[in-house]
Amino acid sequence: MLNQLDPLLHSELRLAVMSVLIALEEADFVYLQEKTGATSGNLSIQLDKLQNAGYIDIEKTYKGKKPRTVCRITSKGLEAFRAYVDAIKGYLEV
């Protein structure tokens, strides 16, 4: 039987964010925006959803006088991402 795809990850922007974070220790908001090409507002909303699900950690700090938002994938997020990839592979039979 095929596993159901995680609806939280089955969204283009959230999946793109998770794919970037999976390859990194941490990334800030500007970096994620540059890589995904998303608008600030949309990215901000999707990051909140991922954080509320416990898939990423968001740390808000300051560098000098400028605010900086640093994102890291959590172990729960890592597990969900793995399960999502396995489920896709199951659908595609790869």
Binding site: L5, H10, S11, E12, L15, A16, S19, V20, I22, A23, L24, E25, E26, A27, D28, F29, V30, Y31, L32, Q33, E34, K35, T36, R68, V70, Y84, V85, I88, K89, Y91, L92, V94
Partner: protein
Amino acid sequence: MNEKESLELITRMIDNTRKGIEKNAAVPMIVFGYASVITSLAVWIALRITNNYMYNLLWMAIPVLGWTLCSLIGRNRTRSRGLSNSHMGLLIGRIWILISGVMLLCMAATFLLRGDFPVTFIMALLAAIGVCSSGLMVLYKPFIVCGILGILLSFVFLWVKGLDSVLLICATFAIIMVIPGHMLHYAANKKQNNNA
């Protein structure tokens, strides 16, 4: 978005992120390589003209120039493209901090022992080990090959002494850092252009 598109998106994003990591990895190698080459030449010229042992203090310019330029480049990049740290990048960074620290201790030992210390041998060996281990961690062949070449070349310093050793260390830094650094930078740029 269907399943196939999801998988393509994941592959594309991970691939793009890795290419960015490769490009970033080349910058410290190039910066520290040039800082070492320029400093060695400056030391060689100063010692040849003045014969004053104190000009060996110029070696301190390598970490100062290297870290200053790297942090300036990093700050500019962070401002325009944001900040990202990879697991491997952090690990390699920590290894180079350790190597730089030991190099500084070696420089201090040379002054305390008034030159009775194989500093060029140890410096070349440490730098070559750093390049080689970075290459082994990211499995980048030019770093591994140039690192091993540097390790072998460093033993020559046990026989070459005086001003000649300064010129030789300049060549060693060019071989183990500048050349593979540019190769990685070129390869990463080519990959990114092909992708675009």
